[in-house]
Subunit: 348 residues, 2 copies
Amino acid sequence: MFEEFLEKQLSWLGDSSENIIFSSRIRLARNLSEYPFPHKATSSQREEIRERIKGAIFKLEEFKDSIFVNMEDLNALDKQFFLERHIISQEHMVSSSGKGLMISSGEEISMMVNEEDHIRFQILAGGFRLDELWEKINYFDDRLTSYLKFAFLPDLGYLTSCPTNIGTALRASCMLHLPGLVMTRKINKILELLAKLSFTSRGLFGEGTQALGDFFQISNQVSLGLSEKELIENLVGIVKQVREQEEEARISLVKRQKITLEDKIGRALGILRNAYLITTKEALSYLSLLYLGIDLGIIKNISQKVVKNLFIVIQPAHLQKKEGRMLREEERDYVRAYILRKRLKEDV
Amino acid sequence: MFEEFLEKQLSWLGDSSENIIFSSRIRLARNLSEYPFPHKATSSQREEIRERIKGAIFKLEEFKDSIFVNMEDLNALDKQFFLERHIISQEHMVSSSGKGLMISSGEEISMMVNEEDHIRFQILAGGFRLDELWEKINYFDDRLTSYLKFAFLPDLGYLTSCPTNIGTALRASCMLHLPGLVMTRKINKILELLAKLSFTSRGLFGEGTQALGDFFQISNQVSLGLSEKELIENLVGIVKQVREQEEEARISLVKRQKITLEDKIGRALGILRNAYLITTKEALSYLSLLYLGIDLGIIKNISQKVVKNLFIVIQPAHLQKKEGRMLREEERDYVRAYILRKRLKEDV
């Protein structure tokens, strides 16, 4: 199933020349006013909600090529696959009737139905494009209101299952690649500062996950009391500051530890090109160095795009979808190493 | 000084197809009967001894192209350089008057004068060639007796400064590359067994040194009570048995852990080809894997000869002789990595 996704080169990753800000994302939470929140609704209510939402989606011309699946029709591997592509949450993988998933052609837009809220509407893009994403998702949100009535109170804004989301019900985030701050040991201080300023930082796969490959996701913690535009503006401001810190850290590394840096990056490339067994964690940490090396001009002949793609396709469910069967851990490590050897050689 | 040695490709290493037995060596200890042993002799006696021996050497037609140096004329770097080439011992590096060194053209034959004995005469060759080496060194030893009178008693044989060498005063040794026995954790049991059978095992740089790069030197401990031929025959027998054990270990590794082995060897090559800083110890351990990989056919396009050579030329004094100046540790690590990158790429 979903073999077509494997063929596509994750088009949302884009060709951005932005090296530090890997991707931008906005998600809106919405609930239908006539129904209880998913965890309070009955099974049949949840199924009704799903049908209503599905109906509305396909009324929009822009979504006529999108796919919609009922989560109970997906096996564990399919779910893991969509998690790895940042299309669903870990919460949405848990079995429960009435859950649904819409994915637009190209994967830029997706919607989880009956996760924590009736609708979790997401838009994703490579690079630093929050303003543009906001324009787009706001437009689609408006279009949906022609067919769906959302729970909304003038004083509070949009109502959501979890009170932390009430108001704009918007979460904007950027995935930042911060190897410079990690290497110069400045990252923890910056993450603490972000927390004080009410921004949340998370690992590669959202809430509760570890920072892998030096990726950190920064998002707004507050959704109430400010307009959507203001929330996004604040995030844009903070992300720019973190980017600046990362740039400074990189300059300082090149200035003070050039050879050590070349050594680390060179070894990472050497291992990725020659290993026969490699875990996801190890591969991500070497790809992180490679990605940094390309930005710094230390690595030539390998495109940023190839590495961006590898960050995603070396993940366990991706490997298994590619092979068309479940793989034991050692088999995955073998297939992962094979893909890395092949992709990083071909590109030269 | 000795720049000509750097140009030569260590010709004694040879083109042997023997992969496990890296090199063979025989040394004879001799003392002139008219003089006390070096540590009992006076400074002027030692200088006289050196002149006598030097005179005898240059009377032999075969040695007319050899060089002879007084050890006091060498600086610390030169001494370290010859140690790394297995031409002198650590003992011979210690300052003391009257010490000398003869090296034949091609470095196959060398002689330390006034080390522990008046003469330590050595012959070296790549591969497993003890019989051939014995014929050669025995011939030269005979030729020298035309010009020098050696201390010899019919009942005891050759007299030597240390009683453990009395008799034949012969030590034969082979340098074995035993990564299979190291990886299968059988090496310690084998070394213990060798000790019980009165064979000595040592690291890459002789007595008291650590086994680096999975190299082990095996030699006879006894020099008395058997003829030279018998001593060599016994060593040949034991070395063949160890080689067989190593072959079995390699077969078992390929059979049971092929991918893990390919992974280790591949990563070693990747690091050697891409590092910018590397210590001697790390380089030797990766070169060891590479050398094994060539033997097993896992590594193609890199010749055994190039790797054999690298084992020697990446050593600290070699790097410094090549650069023509003393280098700090980090500079050596940098130059070493540069040579490895260059040599292992050129060969493809």
